[in-house]
């Protein structure tokens, strides 16, 4: 593999004759051509691997390099002299400091609580909808599904202003009629102000994944359960949901990741970036950026800590993620 690439680059900078001969060889000789394709393939794979993983290497380098060395901004390699980021010194204390300056662990804990609560709510409600859309026939089914789909496309910014008003405790008013409906409780700085928008934002994807999976369970199984005397809802929760476990897991994993990664409402609904206000991971990272403006090693260390749970989840659940994303994206 390496030889093919080398010979290719060699031939380009020597004379045209070699290149022409080589090209002729590639066109004429099947085996040479196969080798070229394989070489290209490995080069491309390696390229993608390096570009996707390099930023993580960069974070690690920054985190363990003492901040004073980072600030000199000199990344030249000792012998070769070219600039390439590499650890300068070894300062693992950054990973201890990072929990002391800002209570990072509490922020991550908040993220976990918010993500878990949202996932449970979304799974319960989306299961009902998935059952309805996947297994029942009724007038208005198509338009209702389209309405759900449509809502999932709107930007969060379009919902922000009235939601923020309502979460501050201002009265909810029927649009254009001016009739006050009710006075909601003040939800900002509480989990509710984030869980509610998250549920709405990530509900549609879960509904579509569950619809797909629930519709694939044979009718006979549901009928059998019904003959045994189970209620319709009982059949959903005791037969259909367990049989669609992979689908439920997919929806759960994707919802959890989406909430953990959400930025818009996470950064706005907690009015200050402190864990007491239920500010999630976003708040911790923003605190480092805003208050510890030159502690670049801590910013990097905080990012690494914040990314680890997601990294584990991706590695464990990669099959589910892949099937979920493709099912959600290409609804057949």
């Amino acid at each position: 593999m390496a030889t093919t690439t080398e010979s290719r680059s060699d031939s380009t900078d020597s004379d045209d004759g070699v290149l022409a001969r080589w090209t002729q060889g590639v066109i004429g000789d099947d085996e040479k051509r196969a080798r070229l394709y394989r070489a290209l393939f490995y080069v491309a794979s390696a390229f993608f691997l390096v570009t996707t993983l390099f930023p993580f290497y960069w974070l690690l380098v920054l985190a363990i390099t003492p901040n004073s060395s980072i600030l000199t901004g000199d990344w030249s390699l000792p012998v070769v002299g070219i600039e390439f980021p590499h650890p300068q010194g070894f300062n693992p204390e950054a990973f201890v400091d990072v929990f002391q300056q800002v209570p990072l662990h509490l922020h991550v804990f908040n993220s976990f609580v918010l993500a878990t609560a949202t996932t449970i709510i979304v799974l319960l409600i989306a299961s009902l909808a998935g059952y309805v859309f996947g297994r029942l026939e009724f007038p208005g089914k198509g338009p209702l599904m389209l309405a759900v789909l449509m809502i999932s496309y709107f930007p969060p910014a379009a919902f922000l202003i009235p939601l923020f008003d309502a979460f501050l405790g201002n009265a909810v008013v029927i649009p254009f009629l001016g009739i006050e409906l009710f006075q909601p409780p003040r939800l900002v700085n509480t989990p509710g102000s984030m869980i509610l928008p998250f549920s709405a934002l990530f509900m549609p994807l879960a509904i579509f994944i569950l619809t797909t999976f629930y519709s694939q369970i044979p009718d006979g199984l549901e009928d059998a359960a019904r003959v045994e005397g189970t209620t319709r809802l009982g059949a959903l929760f005791r037969v259909i949901m367990p049989l669609s476990a992979p689908g439920v897991a997919t929806a759960a994993v994707l919802t959890f990741i989406s909430v953990y990664n959400e930025y818009f409402f996470s950064s706005i609904m907690a009015l200050e970036n402190v864990p007491e206000n239920w500010s999630p991971l976003v708040g911790a990272i923003l605190s480092y950026q805003d208050q510890y403006t030159t502690d670049f090693n801590l910013m990097a260390a905080a990012s690494i800590v914040g990314v680890i749970p997601i990294l584990i989840l991706v590695i464990v659940a990669q099959e589910r993620i892949v099937s979920g994303l493709t099912a959600g994206g290409l609804k057949e």
């Binding site: 393939f41 794979s45 993608f48 570009t51 996707t52 993983l53 930023p55 993580f56 960069w58 920054l62 980072i70 409600i125 989306a126 009902l128 909808a129 009724f138 007038p139 198509g142 449509m150 930007p155 969060p156 910014a157 379009a158 919902f159 922000l160 202003i161 009235p162 939601l163 909810v172 649009p175 254009f176 509610l196 928008p197 549920s199 709405a200 045994e228 005397g229 319709r232 809802l233 953990y260 990664n261 959400e262 930025y263 818009f264 950064s267 991971l281 976003v282 990272i285 670049f296 990097a300 990012s303 997601i310 990294l311 991706v314 590695i315 892949v322 994303l325 493709t326 994206g329 290409l330």
Partner: protein, 339 residues
């Protein structure tokens, strides 16, 4: 055994009476349509109160002038929209004194200027969307072709390609902030020497910051494109390739005549999805650079909604309208395919 037990309890339940049993019996006797609508009630309560109500209310608010500290909101009809598109209200726009601070003095960035802030936001958003989606599609196609093949270490490559997709937005932004921050970033110098980025104050320079945000987005979302295109690739009937091979088609011909036409619909869907998503850009800008440097549409809403509610609502509603129009295309496609 368990079924026996279940049917046993079920029959006992049916003999019992009480509110729960009454509800269960009522549920069981509902017609299919009524039952379906009943189960959909929670979904539509959530989506109605968190999405539909705010959308309508935003539209209502956009018809009022409601500037912080100037008394009661005043109904002005579509004046906010008119002002927005003509650039009329710009001098009173409360954000305009704090917004785009440095750009006023620099004429070298034709797409961001205080005169016509809405136009700036629109151009920034569209530019970001077009460029990032284009590169994501091309690179994503390449990644999908790789993932489509069987090879040793395929799982590893796949995880590596998916990981950026799963990275929290705030950390993605932080990575690129650190990568291009003048005091830490080793890349800034190279790219500045090449004339691509501004040499100083890189993250506060509109064009440089937009380029960096675009690169960050491509890094993260290409994986998503790759997965969608991969699904399309894997639905291609493999026997077509065998036929082509027998007929003596080269790999390039196989790609051009079989793969490409069959995958194009999947690519189209993926591109629409990504376009809709890219139009919402906010968080990445907020953390990597600043909303005052790269004013996307969502940025404008967030930055101004506490000071000028009417105008912020108008921007929010226009943003929703643009995205809604794109979403209609997706929905129309889905409808045609018999949903």
């Amino acid at each position: 055994m368990s079924t026996e037990q279940k049917s046993d309890t079920a029959s006992r339940e049916s003999r019992r009476s009480g509110p729960l049993v009454a509800i269960t019996r009522w549920l069981e006797n509902l017609g299919e349509t009524a039952f379906a609508y009943l189960l959909l009630v929670p979904v539509f309560i959530i989506l109605g109160s968190i999405a539909l109500y705010p959308l309508l209310r935003t539209f209502e608010l956009s018809m009022y002038v409601n500037v912080l500290g100037t008394g009661d909101p005043e109904f002005v009809g579509f004046q906010n929209y008119v002002d927005m598109f003509t650039g009329e209200r710009d001098p009173d726009f409360p954000g305009s004194t704090t917004f785009l601070p440095e750009v006023t003095t620099s004429s070298s960035f034709p797409f961001v200027h205080v005169e016509g802030w809405f136009r700036s936001a629109l151009i920034v958003t569209l530019l970001f969307t077009v460029v990032s989606v284009f590169f994501e599609t091309v690179i994503g196609f390449g990644q999908a072709l790789i993932l489509d093949r069987e090879f040793r270490g395929r799982r590893l490559v796949r995880v590596a390609i998916i990981i950026p997709w799963a990275i929290p937005l705030v950390i993605q932004g932080m990575i690129f902030y650190l990568m291009f921050h003048p005091s830490t970033g080793f890349l800034t110098e190279y790219l500045a020497n090449a004339g691509i980025l501004a040499p100083t104050n890189t993250l506060n320079d509109p064009l440089s910051a937009l380029i960096i945000v675009t690169i960050a987005d491509i890094w993260k979302t290409t994986a998503f494109m790759a997965l969608l295109i991969l699904a399309g690739l894997q639905s291609v009937d493999r026997s077509l390739y065998d036929v082509a091979k027998v007929a003596g088609a080269s790999r390039w011909q196989q790609f051009r005549l079989i793969t490409l036409p069959l995958v194009l619909p999947a690519v189209g869907v993926a591109v629409l999805f990504r376009t809709i998503d890219a139009m919402r850009i906010y968080g990445l800008v907020d953390i990597t650079s600043s909303c005052t440097v790269v004013p996307s549409l969502s940025c404008m809403v967030v930055e101004t909604f506490n000071t000028n509610r009417g105008l912020a609502s108008a921007i929010a509603f226009v943003t929703a309208g643009i995205i809604g129009a794109l979403a209609m295309i997706v929905i129309y496609r889905q409808f045609k395919e018999g949903f």
